[in-house]
Amino acid sequence: MTSPKPQALAIEAEGLVKSFGETKAVDGVDLSVRGGSVYGVLGPNGAGKTTTIRMLATLLRPDAGSARVLGHDVVEEGDAVRAAVSLTGQMASVDEDLTGRENLVLLGRLLGLKRGAAKERATELLEAFGIAEAAARLVKNYSGGMRRRLDIAASLVVTPQLLFLDEPTTGLDPRSRNQVWDIIRALSSSGTTILLCTQYLEEADQLADGIAVIDHGRVIAEGTPGQLKASVGSGALHVRLLDPDQRPEAEQLLLRNLGGVKLEPDPAALSVGCADGNKAAEALAELARGGVQVADFSLGQPSLDEVFLALTGHPAEEEEKEEQPA
């Protein structure tokens, strides 16, 4: 792999600004991403994630600010940036009217591979990504998960030093999402730097080494997933009882162990703020010892809404579209 000094910064952005008409889609974003890491950019729809990624991938010219990607200025040295990165956009960036194989051969040829090498490379990627059987089908007939995998494979026809992934799992079922996560982990362990935009805290938590939370075109928090969750406060332990009549007892026990119990509208359910799995397990054991029968329980991570509520005091809200591509 070609990733140079592991401590070198793969992305350095300062004060990036981009407006569309009246709307400031990106309003002074700073980012620094270490080479070889997976960096998550977390935010709701319309927060400015896609616009940021498009500026870094040289598809949009910033109105103000500057950015260097792998040491190259995105405005002055666009060609050098394009030669080292790949982009997997939010809309699947593959040609729906061609087959999966044709898509990969097309990109191989455009990237400078000879005909034979492009074909071999397509075969290799189709097999590695589990789409060999659908290779000769038109992409418009692919399932969402297959299309996503092809899309990522298309970004790897020539191994990029840095990969932009814009909401790679939005709209996928859990199984397809896990497959995409597996791919991202494999990519990362081979040394590719990844900038991952996502709306899901869980996704950023699972995959990223560092996270920037973005809202209204600004970075409002930054840190490792652990730091971020700690700053947000806890997730919650949700418990449902077999017998609603036992709820007062359960409330007492949980209050003693964890504090701050919330009674849910469901008369058999209650929840309590808790981020620590061990403490939750102890509290559940206490319930069992106290003779309270639990139907089911879950330890939830704070949702993006909770993160936003904690960081900004307002819930994550969808804004109007951040840009009009057509």
Binding site: D79, L98, E124, L138, T159, P174, D182, S190
Partner: protein, 278 residues
Amino acid sequence: MSVETTPTPEIRDAAIQKALASTPRPPRASALDAALTFGWRGMLKVKHVPEQLLDVTITPVMFVLMFTYLFGGAIAGSTGDYLDYILPGILVMSVLFTTVYSGIAINTDLTKGVVDRFRSLPIWRPAPLVGSLLGDSVRYVVAGTVIVVLGLILGFRPEAGVGGVVAAMALTVVFAFGLSWIFTTLGLLMRSPNAVMNAGFMGIFPLTFLSNVFVEPETLPAGLEWFVNVNPISILADASRGLMEGNADASDITIVLAVAAALTAVFMPLTTRLYRTR
């Protein structure tokens, strides 16, 4: 929410690692290679949906039949004479109508995410556009061939033989390549493929009819005659007739080539710029 955690055997970690490790970056594709690859893409689309060629051939076929048999006697005295007159012109019309579809194709592309991928590649920047027009040239040839074959069936016998027909076709395709840059510009400016189609035909239809494709300009009112005579489509139709008859006027051919070059020189950079910034 419970998340399914079954392993996914079809994604093979090791295979992905290997796939990632095995590619040294090849030297950048040349401008020509990149453009030809985009041309190949256009032809693959025709291969997958051959019906799209029907659109571009049915109208001209209807025109040949309608004008020859409906108006031929009235305009030229006999259907045979009129066929000799209009066939080279309808070849031109048929190919020029097809250029509108180049704009529609670009506009359709823009509504899909694939354009982002193309724009993020380290390639010669006009390559997607030049390539798509090169691919479209194949359609132009198909549209032209249909007309010539139909003409031959109906009794059209060009004096200059195969060579003349091929030369007329080649000149028409070169002109179409130049003209299609206008429609790709339109394709990048308008909101939907339908809007491109409407605007495109609104332009190309009157321009084709206000030429000498169907009637001799001498029969027209003075102002109209003047316009018809300077209309590049008339000059192209004259050149095409001349090449098929074996008496082409060199200045006609020069003008046609110059107009094609001028259109390319103005609209290609404009289109490339729009493609990059849209």
